[in-house]
């Protein structure tokens, strides 16, 4: 494949791969998303031979249309509920029912292709909160084995190399940073101005949202053109700093990295000595192949990474590869979320542009003694509807509400008038927050349902910790206050309810120093298998306050350094 080309890998070399499956490359990476892309780029830039196995297709900018049906109903970019059905239950003593339980990006670039691009760093407290406030009954609340200071240089790498726009020092709550952002914030939207003015009246501290979206062009990538089809859509101009637009292409340009799409990894193989030898995947024709490698790094997201380990159970690990702790798949955290909507007198035209232009962190760290629950998070000003979803909701599930106030007639002249008036005059406040790690909340293999390849389907077990629900409701009340102060002509919200659908997939192969209470160590190495590494949202110990991808990418840059250090001193267990 020509260096720097943007062609689709599968079309340019249909059955011809850069590496043979029998070539023992240095690294096989499972998953080409936020983490996998960065690891591929770092490894291949530093001379290592890499194969990235991605279950989804290799789509590119010309595929990123604004057709809401193709994208939101036909799952052009996302996991298919028919090909890969899922089940859901609230607690382990129930039988899970078949229903769509999660959405993730299923293509080269992963979920980073279609995300909102909110890119907050964790704050210092996120890593050491257990030490600060003590344990929380009924949860696995724990400190991370690393601190903010360990990760700070890598947050900076993400901002500068992948491309994050923002304004250093604009938030009084920001953690320390070694460099400013590489480019200024994106232009403010009317929703951001309304939010900022009202928040300041309330004594809060709104600031421009750090976004993984270019406000200035970079080689081969345009600055944001404010097209309005952002969250849930791919960026046709390369402004959204997806793994596809950044790390994947950088990796390919080294000439040492092969991105192999339509390669559905369903097993990591292990030899009798207890080292992994490669990854087995189904190709487009559903033939199975083993790609050999000296080490395997699984970056398949917080649902598919534990699923892969469970599917890879063998004699030595009957409960799942690298699962001596029994924690693979457990401690699932989703981040809490709630919204409030407001209608204003004049047109905001917030349909123009990216989704979120202002955020505030005044409630990042609430005092449990004062509010009566653990938690914290951020409020942001956004408009993330597109025309059809505004008019009738339906994404990601058909019950999801649209942007019209409740009790609006659902058809007829009154409906049309409401649409015509409200589409340009509505904004939303998003409330993002913590969710606690509860061991019973998990991803596991469904005992009955199979996917289209005959593999056990993903089963989600989730019941929100009480504090997560209280937090969401508390933040929602702040959002409604803000809309009042902002002079909204009308404001409304849907009540906070228990989750049965996941966007953020966190905690399911958690990091820690103790092999009994964690799956990987602080180098992302599984405690059990020396040449098996995991890096994605599953690595999280605590959930953070709502925007995980920035931290996933920083962890990936750091993991790359750690893993390459092992490789260079021959300590990969090979």
């Amino acid at each position: 494949m020509a260096a720097g080309s943007q062609g689709r890998g599968e079309e340019m070399r249909p059955d011809q791969h850069k590496y043979k499956t029998s070539d023992e490359v240095d690294f096989v990476i499972v998953g080409s998303g936020a983490a996998g892309g960065i690891l591929a780029k770092e490894f291949s830039t530093n001379g290592f031979r890499v194969v990235v196995l991605e279950q989804g297709p290799y789509l590119t900018e010309s595929d990123f249309v604004h057709d809401e049906i193709k994208i939101l109903q036909e799952d052009l970019l996302t996991n298919h509920p028919k090909l890969q059905p899922t089940t859901f239950r609230k607690t382990p003593d129930e039988k899970a029912k078949q229903q769509r339980a999660l959405v993730y990006g299923r293509l080269v670039g992963g979920t980073s292709v279609h995300f909102t691009a909110n890119f907050w760093r964790f704050h210092e407290i996120d890593f050491v909160e257990r030490s600060k406030i003590g344990s929380i009954a009924g949860t696995g609340f724990a400190d991370w084995p690393i601190t903010y200071a360990d990760l700070e240089p890598y947050y900076t790498k993400v901002e500068w190399e992948i491309g994050v726009s923002g304004l250093a020092g604009a938030s009084p709550f920001d953690p320390p940073r070694s460099k400013p952002y590489p480019m200024p914030p994106l232009p403010v939207k009317s929703s951001g101005v309304i939010f900022e003015r009202a928040a300041r009246k309330l004594g809060w501290h709104p600031f421009p949202t750090p976004m993984a979206i270019l406000s200035q062009p970079r080689p081969g990538r345009s600055a944001c053109v404010n097209c309005g089809f952002c969250l849930a859509f791919g960026c046709e101009v390369g402004a959204k700093s997806s793994s596809l637009a950044t790390a994947i292409r950088m990796a390919e340009r080294t000439g040492r990295c092969e991105i192999r799409p339509n390669s559905y990894v369903h097993r990591v193989e292990m030899d009798s000595i207890g080292r992994v030898t490669g990854a087995v995947y189904f190709d487009k024709q559903r033939n199975a192949h083993l790609q050999r490698a000296k080490a395997v790094v699984v970056c398949a997201n917080g649902a598919e990474t534990p699923r892969l380990l469970l599917l890879s159970a063998n004699k030595q690990f009957p409960n799942g590869l690298a699962n001596s702790s029994g924690l693979v798949g457990k401690y699932l955290m989703l981040n809490s979320y709630a919204e409030a909507l407001g209608l204003f007198e004049h047109p905001l035209n917030d349909y123009k542009g990216y989704a979120v232009s202002r955020v505030l962190h005044d409630f990042y760290e609430l005092d449990p003694q004062k509010v009566g629950f653990y938690g914290g998070g951020g409020l942001d000003a956004r408009f993330d509807f597109t025309p059809i979803t505004f008019a009738m909701g339906g994404y990601p599930l058909s019950e999801a509400p649209g942007g019209l106030p409740p009790k609006t007639p659902r058809w007829g002249k009154a409906f049309k008038d409401a649409l015509s008036h409200d589409f340009t005059r509505t904004m939303k406040i998003g409330c993002h927050g913590t969710s606690l790690p509860v061991e019973a909340n998990s991803f596991s293999l469904d005992p009955d349902l199979k996917d289209a390849w005959g593999l056990p389907a993903l089963r989600m077990t989730y019941k929100n910790h009480r504090d997560d629900l209280k937090l969401a409701a508390w933040q929602q009340a702040r959002a409604l206050e803000l809309l009042d102060v902002a002079g909204a002509r009308m404001k409304w919200h849907t009540l906070v309810e228990e989750d049965d659908f996941a966007f953020h997939l966190l905690g399911t192969c958690r990091m820690g120093n103790d092999p009994k209470t964690s799956v990987i160590n602080s180098d992302h190495r599984t405690h059990d298998v020396k040449n098996l590494f995991l890096c994605d949202g599953s690595s999280f110990v605590t959930s953070g306050r709502g925007q995980p991808t920035m931290t996933i990418e920083a962890l990936a840059f750091r993991a790359a350094d750690r893993i390459m250090a092992f490789a260079k001193r021959g300590d990969l267990g090979a």
């Binding site: 249309v65 604004h66 057709d67 809401e68 049906i69 193709k70 109903q73 036909e74 304004l167 604009a170 009084p172 709550f173 914030p185 232009p187 403010v188 939207k189 009317s190 929703s191 951001g192 101005v193 309304i194 300041r200 501290h205 421009p208 053109v225 404010n226 097209c227 309005g228 204003f344 004049h346 047109p347 905001l348 035209n349 917030d350 349909y351 123009k352 542009g353 025309p387 059809i388 505004f390 008019a391 009738m392 339906g394 659902r410 058809w411 007829g412 002249k413 409906f415 049309k416 649409l419 015509s420 589409f423 340009t424």
Partner: protein, 209 residues
């Protein structure tokens, strides 16, 4: 009604065989007329539907025209929703074919039951049509079909006009909701950000952790 039809035929006629000089002299008017005529031509003499019979299509078109009516702005009819739904049922919405095949006769039976002498939905007066639909909206048996049709109508009204689905014809739907069709926008975007000066930190000292 008659005037509108005559005007439509006139514009159809005048949009073809027009000289370049005439077009240059009457550019904006000609353009508007041509737009209208193209839309009219498409809705008048369109090739066969892929899924619906012409009779079924007329019924679906009439129902969609109550879901998003034509009033002082275009509605579902002008957006070509019936063509969108027709194609949808052969492609991404093929799972809903059964709902339409079973639901439409039930709806027609309801029309006859509520308004004896009126044989089909498209023959009923608008007020009668709305009454029938309201009865469906509340009836759990028929709800499924009506809700499916409602969602398809909205999708056909507001889908990206550059999509290959045939909906939102002439960007009619986006014009109704006030959405400009460009792919790129520059600030200022709306009323509240147009006078926003550059970012300023809050006047008081920032609160320290």
């Amino acid at each position: 009604m008659q005037d509108a039809l005559s005007r439509r035929r006139f514009l159809l006629g005048s949009a073809t065989g027009v000289s370049a000089t005439w077009a240059a002299a009457h550019w904006p008017a000609a353009l508007a007329a041509a737009d209208y005529a193209r839309a009219a031509a498409r809705s008048a003499g369109r090739p066969n539907f892929e899924f619906f019979t012409p009779e079924q299509a007329a019924e679906i078109d009439a129902i969609a025209a109550r879901i998003i009516p034509t009033d002082d702005t275009p509605g579902a009819r002008e957006a070509g929703v019936v063509y969108f739904i027709d194609r949808a049922l052969k492609t991404f919405a093929s799972d809903s074919q059964k709902s339409y095949i079973e639901g439409l006769p039930v709806l027609q039976a309801r029309v006859r039951e509520m308004f004896p002498g009126v044989e089909k939905f498209s023959a009923a007066a608008p007020e009668q049509q709305d009454e029938v639909l309201r009865s469906f909206d509340e009836d759990s048996n028929a709800k499924n079909f009506f809700e499916t049709l409602r969602r398809h109508t909205i999708a056909g009204f507001l889908i990206d006009p550059d999509s290959d689905t045939g909906g939102n014809r002439e960007v009619v739907g986006w014009k109704v909701i006030g959405r400009d069709r460009e792919h790129m926008f520059q600030p200022p975007f709306g009323y509240y950000d147009k006078d926003y000066p550059a970012w300023q930190p809050a006047p008081k000292d920032a609160e320290k952790k």
